[in-house]
Subunit: 334 residues, 2 copies
Amino acid sequence: MSGRAVTISEVARHAGVAVSTVSYVLSGKRAISADTRRRVLDSVRVLGYHPNAGARALASRRANVIALVLPLRAGVHVPVLMQFATSVVTAARRYDHDVLLLTADEGSDGLRRAAASALVDGLVLMDVELHDSRVPLLRELAEPSVLIGFPADSAGLTCVDLDFARAGALCVEHLAERGHREVALLGAPSVVYDRGTGFARRTREGFAAAVAETGLTGVALPCEENFDQVSTAIAGLLDARPGLSGLVVHNEAAVGHVLGALRQYGRRVPGDIAVVAICPDDIAERASPPLTSVLIPAEEVGRQAVRLLMEKLEGRAVPDGTLLQPRLTVRDST
Amino acid sequence: MSGRAVTISEVARHAGVAVSTVSYVLSGKRAISADTRRRVLDSVRVLGYHPNAGARALASRRANVIALVLPLRAGVHVPVLMQFATSVVTAARRYDHDVLLLTADEGSDGLRRAAASALVDGLVLMDVELHDSRVPLLRELAEPSVLIGFPADSAGLTCVDLDFARAGALCVEHLAERGHREVALLGAPSVVYDRGTGFARRTREGFAAAVAETGLTGVALPCEENFDQVSTAIAGLLDARPGLSGLVVHNEAAVGHVLGALRQYGRRVPGDIAVVAICPDDIAERASPPLTSVLIPAEEVGRQAVRLLMEKLEGRAVPDGTLLQPRLTVRDST
DNA sequence: ACCGAGTGTCGAAGCGCTTCGACTGAGGCG
DNA sequence: CGCCTCAGTCGAAGCGCTTCGACACTCGGT
């Protein structure tokens, strides 16, 4: 397993064929007789041949690598990010591609570098903001890209995301069905709204629209992520809105604190107040009581992003926007 | 920015020099006159040249890419993982390397593939178990590797980690100094111990050793990650050990629940019971009260791992094991 | 004036792969 | 029976870069 690596010409010699024949066996781009194919594949196995990635990339002008650009910022819930990342890697491997990890702090330069050096064939960007500075670059890059999240102007881009507006609405509708008349949304920390993060705002819009539509009353508040601030916010809310009986929480890091604060103030869930969360299933399940929730389908978003990117790499046309429909799972908190 | 990419020969023509001269300017491997260097660099800038990664890798037998192998398992705290990952990427970029993301579910085959195809020059593995099946492969691979975490037999490998035994001991010593005589460790979920995860066991050993050394009494318990189980465990503990006044929590996902349970049973922190956590700072700070804690120096571990790998890539000798010393930050919980 | 030792630059030979065009037989057709 | 087609294979030309050896100067020492 050490020493110089096995090359295609050694395989060719071992199998008694030309180098190009080995290549065609491996790529399937030309017809090869069953007999030759078998001999070649045997040699590949016996010698433990792995094609050299650099040579392949150079000759074929395809690196078989895609870039995944991860954010590194406050207020993005990291476990969800990680789910995206692993689903992107897993999906990419199914298309025989690898994933190069870039961090957003390299900014546009990093993307340009990776693309221009042909290190990667395409890009998947996560946590795109409404007015993301990288978007103009993406439009002019020769390499195809897919965004997870929608910028304000998504024309000409390929974007995938959960339909957060629908998710916010779904929570309200669920509470309305259960007979609640006065509801509140505890959202992301205010810095996230200020930054112009699409999913936070869209959830709030969907919440507000559904409140209006169902004739409920409702407020939407940002929500910080430490216990004392959450506790204070809840106290204020309970005080200001004595009729409040339904809560939508869209903040993975705060759900635990919200439940703790309600417990602290003697409110029973769901007896006194019903809670719906928008968060990963494991957080909802691990809470007490287990929470009714709309989950972020991270696995599917990642998978779709890769699928779309692969289609673009094949030169096929893809839709600009792909919105995944949220699903609500009823547990014990409503 | 689209169309065919700029090549080194276009740069050479533009600058009026040979291709090899451009290469030497860029790599610095031979002396070049200041004048020529300037002309070449100007051309590089004007044309927007980025060397083709595949060609470079092929010719130089160095991809300038390292692999980062992430686990995908229960009981590993994801935010910490993410901190490792980003610090590895950031550190690698400082050495002009990129990072290829591999997931542990591809197992040894994935590592072999990436290494044999010269996709990567070296490997960083995270969350290594005591009896990790990938370790034999690493030993025979021509490519250098660095492990984050220690397997049972680390001879001939390069490993980096926080000194968890020392971290466990440090927590006990701190509680002892504060006058506590009876302490408990709430650790990882039992599945993590069963799996043979080094850091969990080592913390427990360090805890036990320090308990013995300081003459305290103490128990170590695994700790699941949902509120009800934590609450039950705490109830049992308080019941069985009325004298208990110090708690060490080594489980990021459970610290919030532990505090919630103590609040539930009317125990004040730190009045009735002192709590020390081993967890990232943001979790400790966001708790109520903010927790005295030993942080996992994820950033430094990642940085050291990359530094060691780069040394090995240069052919230099490096120590087998690198243990980072823990530091305890006093906050309001002890 | 001449040699030796740099110093700066060039040309060409690969690195290991893909892909194009060409070649060889075998088989189907008139 | 000759011709065309097509499946199967081969050889060679790159892909864009690094690196080695060679070459042309300059310059200080004699």
